[in-house]
């Protein structure tokens, strides 16, 4: 994308403009003629629908919980006579396999595809093929590049990073030595959260980044990484942890080494929230709500039913702080021990989110 923007050849640029102009014309035409149908929808598919859920990797707890919200939503829609079947695939972390699965869903002529992308670019072509076939494609959490989808649904990763950095900076009065914990390298989500934090860090030159880690979004590797950093750095004033169970790993590392806990950011991992309460941490957390999955299925069905849905549904980030954490922990036993305590959701919330422009 970067090189594409910096260096388009003249002919390419003119061709792009030409096709953009044609697309605009078509858009104006279709908008003028009638229907406010959502993207990809041709109106030739009738309820009850078959929904395909193309997962990139089903093993992480976050994914299992998300699949739970999808299955629950499908059950509701089945009762309403809108959905007849849910097909689930698991690409086992392989973007190439995910392409193959989505191709199979096209071949099986499903009516809707709900997808978390294994790579922001790799699925572009197969997803636009699905869109061309009139399949409602709703993409959430990890987004694709192409706009040939019915809707994309996500929180803002950049705000995630900025919010976390802002809180930590306020806690430390704008100065101190901090460690930044990131998710895996080369993954858009972890990259976006980190990029979102950067302007805040730049604005607070008193914050000195000792070092950064890149690990899977799991407690164990994060704890291991933090443990070795604790040996090397006698003075750490704060931890800017950007997600998953990284924060829990960090807190446990501090605890094991007998170090005094420092202000730390994080996500709604049950483990982290419980440690936060137990150790009386100075903490801040947000979340990637698991019900994005349920919302995606709901959105796809709404679009198939002829409703207009926004091309991008931005879901506001819920924030957990000392004033709200008790409400989350009160429901903790309904969630797996290594799971995420997500905020409540219902159809009214979904309708409100889909109504926003």
């Amino acid at each position: 994308m970067k090189t594409f923007e910096n260096n388009p050849s003249a002919s390419l640029r003119s061709r792009l403009f030409a096709s953009a102009a044609v697309a605009m014309g078509l858009l104006a035409l279709s908008a003028g003629t009638a229907s406010a149908a959502a993207n990809c929808i041709k109106g030739d598919r009738k309820a009850p629908y078959t929904v395909g859920w193309a997962n990139i990797y089903s093993v992480p707890t976050w994914m299992k919980q998300t699949e739970g919200t999808i299955a629950a939503e499908v059950e509701q829609l089945k009762k309403a006579g809108l959905v007849k079947d849910l097909m689930i695939t698991d690409a086992q972390g392989n973007a190439q396999t995910q392409i193959q699965h989505i191709q199979s869903m096209i071949d099986a002529n499903v009516d809707a595809i709900v997808v978390i992308a294994g790579s922001s670019n790799a699925l572009d072509r197969v997803i636009s093929d699905a869109c061309d076939k009139g399949i409602a494609v709703v993409n959430f959490d990890s987004l694709v590049n192409t706009d040939k989808v019915t809707a994309k649904i996500n929180t803002d990763s950049s705000e995630w990073g900025a919010g976390a950095a802002k809180w930590l900076s306020d806690q430390l009065g704008g100065k101190g030595k901090i460690i930044v914990m990131n998710g895996p390298a080369g993954i858009s989500v972890s990259d976006d959260r980190r990029k979102g934090a950067q302007p805040v860090l730049d604005a607070n030159p008193g914050l000195e980044i000792i070092t950064e880690t890149n690990t899977e979004y799991n407690a164990a590797p994060a704890q291991e990484a933090m443990t070795s950093l604790l040996f090397a750095n006698p003075e750490i004033d704060g931890v800017l942890s950007l997600g998953g169970a990284l924060s829990a790993g960090s807190v446990m590392a501090f605890d094991r080494q007998g170090r005094e806990q420092v202000p730390i950011t994080g996500e709604n991992a049950r483990q982290f929230l419980e440690l936060w309460k137990e150790k009386g941490l100075k903490g801040w957390a947000t979340m990637q709500p698991n019900w994005l999955g349920a919302l995606s299925v709901y959105t796809a069905v709404q679009a198939l039913e002829g409703k207009d849905v926004p091309a991008f549904v931005k879901v506001p980030l819920p924030v957990i702080d000392d004033s709200t954490i008790d409400g989350y922990l009160a429901r903790a036993d309904k969630f797996p021990a290594d799971g995420y305590i997500y905020s409540d959701y219902d159809q009214a919330l979904f309708d409100k989110l889909l109504a926003q422009k």
Partner: protein
Amino acid sequence: MSAVSSSSWLYGAIQRRRNRGLGGLYLIVAAFLILYAVLFPGILSVGGFSKFTQNWFPLALVTMAQALLMLNGGITLAIGPLVSLGAVIAATTMDGVFGVPGGIVAVALTGLAIGAVIGAIVAHLRLPAIIVTLAGSFIITGVALILLPRPGGFIPGWLSNTLAGHTPVAFLLLVVVLVAWKAFLATPLGLGIYAAGDNPVGAFRSGVPVERAKVVAFALSGLLAALAGLFVAAQTGSGDPVIGTPFTLNSIAAAVLGGVGFLGGKGTMRGAICGSLLLSVMINVMFFLGFPPVAQYIAQGLIIVGAVAVPELLKAWRAKR
């Protein structure tokens, strides 16, 4: 497939023995293909066939890259990173001055060069291939992440549509690669790769340049892996610095499934290709059978064990008879 013209009875007998071991695998693959065609008749159309073979093609290439080294008595853990690097180079060079041809040449040369360097280290410094390629895989991953820190880059639309559109170009390319491999096997150097894997001392005494054969094997393997990356970039329309990772293990699985041994000299390229086809068709068949993901993990394991066990059982049954 019998391109070998020297039909002396000795060679014929050896070939028959090698093929017989693969009979069970051929049966299983054929059964899966038929099952797939029954579940999804669209596979028999040009479009369906094209899409299916496109998803198989990169795995077939990396399996060849892996089998080539295993036949030579080596192994490589750098396949996945090389695929990623090939994709990244393709996606970052094709909008340059030299365009698509420049990009293809850059990918091919990178693959050849990295393979040759790894091969030279393994052959001349006598270090274990598994360690050298493991170290290499870290370096190559790092370079790919530096060149393209996150998915992106540019592949011209026409290239994507040519290689991975609704025509079976990918399959034809695979046929070309296989024919080239057959032709290469007919050369002394090609035979030397097998010979040096089977019995290095014997090969050396018969005048095979064992070290050079090893370097060539690694270079060709690197070339195939990088080209698989180029194809992945075209198929997806972009580069991704970590997209290749799962190919390392899958290439080994496909080669072993195809009867290629870890100790060198044992196995055939056609077996390895069949192994990769099984891994690929299995995914689609399980989808159309409607297996839930957890069952897919288990079924996948059972199919792989079965595909290795059935030929062995057949052998035992034949020996008893």
